[in-house]
Amino acid sequence: MENLLLITIFFYILAGVGYFLFFTAQKNYFYKAGLYCIIAGFLFHTTIIVFKILTTRQLPIHNLFETLLTVAWSITAVFIFFDYKFKLKILGIFASPMIIFIMSAACVISDKPVEIKKIFSGFWLNIHIISIFIGEAAFVLACGAGIFYLIQEYGIKRKKRGYFYKRLPSLSYMDAVCYSCIIAGFAMVTMGLASGFVYAKIAWGHFWTWDPKEIWSILTWLFYAVLLHGKLASGWRGKRFAIMTIIGVIFILFTFLGVNFLFEGHHREFTG
């Protein structure tokens, strides 16, 4: 298991190097190399996850190690999908360091065995977990596209076309990618929240229990709902939209980790 984890990180680091070289040298073969490495890493990563599922019969989110492992896996999965879909080649330089960082953090924390409660299983819970993880990974990638947008726009507005000008794609393209990521993420998170409520009803008998995680999740969801509404109703775009995607990720980070460390609640044990 340890070895598999190291091999996974090794491939992610190779991918990161590939994407970095692609960004600086702008040679397509570096991008290709990066993509193949990240896919290789992803396969090993998936093997670890499958192994975990087979041994515990549950999704691996029972301690901080497992949660981080799954977070990194979701981001990689969504990244590979969006890369295939949009060919936004420079997103790799945003995604790969993040994946490497999360995986390394998981590695440092190391896996401590936890007592697995019967309650954490079932169809609705699995749907809840998978869609939330995938959805939030898409929000994180939207933030990446947003950051690139801001860098590129800053250069164009200031008429100082530096290092990034040539390397980043057009503003409207990055805006579109950002928007697509948000749409995909919003759909998944909505599904995740709904299935979470259903699960809560089955497990605890209430849809809503004023758990801090629930409150913050709804706030995050509302934030993105407002963002999407602004886009659809009055055509929010560009700088404002990009900044909002970054704020959104701060929300997510807090909801995802901050709440677990600061408040009590029934989500707490996943990072224990």
Partner: protein, 423 residues
């Protein structure tokens, strides 16, 4: 042994009046090629004639008489005393000639560093030389190598990737803002050479709709007709801002035509879709504060000039890389060129066959262990004399007067069919 010579003049060495006199029209070029080909000492010839340069590239068997022939040719055809204009010409031999033609075709010798048109002009000139059958194995190889090298330079360096004219710089920026500009709408306010050039470039990228607004409506209509667009009155500009994506302003008005206040109101109506304002008028036509509004981008003439200056610097930096690629190409070309020497070809041919003979002999002897040393020697003598007999006629042919006329071609051919290039 043949030599490559290049005689020519360009925008750095000669004034435009002289370049005009020396230049060849398409028709003259064909005659000139044939005429030079028949001169003494000249085997192959290629002429490049553009508004910035006239160059004669030739493969010659006798250097002195070839140079004389070319000088006489200029004196006769152009009706001037060559001695008087000799100082404007440069003349390069072999290695330097090859390097020069590589530099020229990559745009490294052009007035605007890295400009791509020259390659097309060389292609046309080369086609003429091929049609008149004045290019032979040496020039074919040389010019193909020049094409290959300049293509390599384009892909491996950024020599051509930074716009160095106002209109190209504007198009490049538009692409960075909109990505695709195919479905964008353009508004041209006022007219002027630079504005029209920019419109031409944008039209080349297939913008869909073009509006033209002009103070004199009649002129506006004429201009709109020229670009296949629609004419507007100047008063209609504010409402047109609702639908256009790119605005090019170049009127002679002494004050702003487009104000921040007007534009601010329109952003909401456009649902925040971006507008790219290009203000090439002096004094400026568009309120510079507009650049501060979200999703609006404004570049005036000085900003565009700044972009170009930056790009020129980038190109010069890339030119260093490009020159390295040229030098590599010169080395590979010279390796090939020098191997066309008859003694080299023959010795390469011999050693190839000897190597085959040795290898086969070894293989056979390995399974014939019972042979005495005398037998072995007899076998190797037989192999050697077999090889010599086979080579006798081809070598005699290559050395004989029979192929003197196209010696280079035969040598090249021999190298090709025996695959002697790998040495």
């Amino acid at each position: 042994m043949r030599h490559i010579i290049l005689i020519g003049l360009n925008h750095n060495t000669a004034p435009v009046e002289l370049r005009e006199t020396i230049a060849f029209s398409d028709q003259q070029l064909k005659q000139a090629l044939l005429c030079l080909k028949n001169k003494q000492g000249i085997e192959e010839v290629f002429i490049l004639s553009t508004c910035n340069r006239v160059e004669i590239l030739a493969a010659v068997s006798d250097m002195q008489s070839a140079i004389k022939s070319i000088e006489n040719f200029f004196s006769e055809k152009k009706d001037i005393d060559f001695k008087k204009i000799k100082e404007f010409f440069y003349i390069y031999f072999n290695k330097k000639a090859a390097k020069h033609i590589f530099m020229v075709s990559a745009g490294l010798d052009s007035m605007i560093l890295g400009e791509p048109q020259i390659l097309g002009q060389i292609k046309v000139a080369y086609r003429a030389a091929v049609e008149q059958k004045t290019a032979g194995p040496i020039l074919n190889r040389l010019i193909h190598k020049a094409f290959f090298t300049s293509k390599k330079i384009r892909t491996e360096t950024g020599i051509g990737s930074h716009a160095v004219s106002i209109s190209y710089a504007a198009v490049e920026l538009a692409k960075k803002i909109f990505g695709e500009i195919e479905d964008k709408t353009l508004l041209l306010i006022g007219a002027g050479e630079m504005a029209e050039l920019a419109v031409e470039h944008l039209k080349g990228k297939r913008v869909t709709d073009i509006y033209v607004a002009n103070r004199t409506f009649k002129n506006g209509v004429a201009l709109a007709k020229k670009f296949g667009g629609r004419a507007l009155k100047l008063e209609e500009v504010p409402s047109a801002l609702e639908i256009v994506d790119i605005v090019i302003a170049s009127t002679a008005a002494s004050e702003f035509i487009i104000f921040k206040k007007e534009v601010k109101n329109i952003i909401r109506l456009r649902r925040n879709r971006p507008i790219f304002f290009i203000d090439i008028a002096v004094p400026r036509n568009i309120d510079p504060d507009i650049n501060g509004l979200a999703n609006l981008y404004l570049y005036d003439i000085d900003d565009l000039r700044g972009v170009i200056e930056g790009n020129k610097e980038l190109r010069s930096k890339e030119a260093v890389k490009a020159e390295r690629i040229v030098e590599e190409a010169v080395i590979t070309f010279l390796n090939w060129y020098e191997s066309l020497d008859i003694n080299q070809v023959i010795s390469a041919l011999k050693s190839k066959l000897d190597a085959i003979g040795d290898a086969e002999l070894k293989k056979t002897l390995a399974s014939l262990k019972h042979l005495s040393s005398k037998d072995i020697e007899a076998l190797s003598v037989m192999t050697a004399s077999f090889i010599n007999k086979v080579l006798y006629d081809p070598i005699l042919f290559l050395k004989s007067a029979g192929c003197k006329k196209d010696k280079t071609a035969y040598l090249d051919f021999t190298k090709k069919i025996f695959h002697l290039d790998n040495k």
